[in-house]
Symmetry: C2
Subunit: 417 residues, 2 copies
Amino acid sequence: MAGLTRRRMLGGAAAATGGLLSSKAEARSPDPLITELQDWASQTGDGVDATPYGLPIEYERDVIRRNVPWLTADTISSVNFTPIHALDGTITPQGCAFERHHSGAIALRKQDYRLLINGLVENPIVLTYGDIERFPRETHVYFCECAANTGMEWAGAQLNGVQFTHGMLHNMEYTGVPLRVLLAEAGADMSDQNWLYIEGADASSNGRSLPMAKALDDCLVAFKANGEALRKEHGYPVRLVVPGWEGNLWVKWLRRIEVVAEAVESREETSKYTDLLANGTARKWSWVMDAKAVITSPSPQAPIFHGYGPLVISGLAWSGHGRITRVDVSLDGGVSWEIARLGYRGSDKALTRFYHDIHWNGNEMLLQARAIDETGYVQPTKSQLRAVRGENSIYHNNGVQTWYVDSQGVVENVEIT
Amino acid sequence: MAGLTRRRMLGGAAAATGGLLSSKAEARSPDPLITELQDWASQTGDGVDATPYGLPIEYERDVIRRNVPWLTADTISSVNFTPIHALDGTITPQGCAFERHHSGAIALRKQDYRLLINGLVENPIVLTYGDIERFPRETHVYFCECAANTGMEWAGAQLNGVQFTHGMLHNMEYTGVPLRVLLAEAGADMSDQNWLYIEGADASSNGRSLPMAKALDDCLVAFKANGEALRKEHGYPVRLVVPGWEGNLWVKWLRRIEVVAEAVESREETSKYTDLLANGTARKWSWVMDAKAVITSPSPQAPIFHGYGPLVISGLAWSGHGRITRVDVSLDGGVSWEIARLGYRGSDKALTRFYHDIHWNGNEMLLQARAIDETGYVQPTKSQLRAVRGENSIYHNNGVQTWYVDSQGVVENVEIT
């Protein structure tokens, strides 16, 4: 940043005008937005008492979750994607954080909430919402990524927007009770070979098996996100948080935890959430979300609208194995790489925001980003990934994404072959 | 936490029942919420496509900003307080983050936005919103506290709720361009003795003088909060972020920055935002928000509803001088202190969440918390503060707050004399 204080970025074009793109003629005529008294400076604005819980201003009405109609045709089992092309920083507001449900989002009052912990336990227990609030709690920021994020891209570039290719992703500050504390309360048999079978209170129940070691490590029985109560569609009043692992394990409307001697092999972990390989066999228990980065701007929904000159390239990186230590950016489709600036370095298993500041001269670009995490793992190209996994899978696609930028700043989802 | 895995917290009372408060007779009768099929488990829930930008579930309708009617009688110049009694973690959702305005919240479109930097500069510049997005940006979490937070308590305990005594406070992840970068673009004279005069685009303009050293240190010209655009009432599309300093300096709808040789001594820094002392003189330029902690639960709006036994005491701590290093909690009005657990340790000039887990036997309590920051500063008692500052002030009251808890768990705002 020190260098920036000694040179000008936009130069004279921005002086006394409406900015870089103004022509010289315009540059000399007064800008009425500066020289004339405007309504908003001569009249009082709105009060806020009428909106005790506020919404975004109307001008931001396009920054919303969106679905892909052909992907989930009904509202019972659907997914809505985070508008990551329009966001910055790392925190995802709950209002536009992606959500996936298998039988609708249910409305469950706190007074009707019960959590049963049974199975291989000394004392089966039922906890009310109030009970859960009495155990020592923790607060952590974690990303949550659907295993199917980027899943439509296995066979080639398909969806023209980072909201759709990478938007099954959010990052929130969760508050809850460590799962290990509640297992101790029930006197659970915490032997390493045991599993937990986790169910939600909705009709799908979304039952999943969780290894005991993960349960004892960092899972949270969470009741707040970004400071406030979970939203209905995120599992109000209580959901499981399974840091770094696929979102489907983060069971919402958490109803029951059964300690079992063997994995259940439920419908959710056999018909779905296994990875079909090229040879026709399927990988199972592929829970961890491997390191991944993507450029969120410029991207197809966030083209370059301001012409040539200084350009901020910005994106997100994350790893289910820990912290992001480096992000590389390429402007030429992976031929050469530069190290991006980590603009906000996330904590363990949380999103990191990266920035790469360039001077764009209007050349076509093939933009890529790749993540490196604290284990030394380097995010693979799509070709490298397909060589191992084939093209039949849905889940765990963390291949490097390519955006083609034309000379007008229009951006497209492409593949380098 | 290790100890907790070896003993039970709620004990047998919670087993197979609705929790600790159930009588023994009830403990043996089946809980239909566990044994019977419920509507929400047999019918599908709502889709989410209809709420592409979601709001809290209806059951949380009380978790909203509130005003104090007698404090600001009109909507033109009013303040709405964050419901910190109902929040946890550290992030404040924009929807319920406090806001203060002096002539209403104005609706200013990005295309109508201009920022003029003039005065002692080589090149006066006007920046559009798009221009600002082209400079290298940063992301940081900072608290914003109104100088008048806790201001009604100078002469004694008055408002019975932490939302009202301490709720002129929020903590968000801001993204923006360092102010020093824009000053460099204008070729500003960055001499230490210079000041900036900062104005907003609303009718009040809320002009304030800012010393050059602070401007060059950590101020941001911010356009995102918690990842998304600023809300209208928080200064959409651009506000100034002045980390650790009183909220009134965080000028909203930022319109003009003039580099000046002397402080302007504007209406906002003479008629208001100076601190009247006991001898009739006033302190000025008291910008930094000193270290402060408060227990948010239990508190008057968050009484203990679950009877005796395990109790989580939770609160917030912050300092305009840097990081919080320790929070002490007292159950007996400051006679004895214990060190609280820092549940989420905030970064520099950001909120820290603390927890203190106790077993409450129904004894009356006088709850207090005090913050210690990285400079070694210890938050003063109200008596210590009044000895220096008198009782005539409005601003910068960071005295230790006392909550009286009766044997039924009802909580009141009191003073220890």
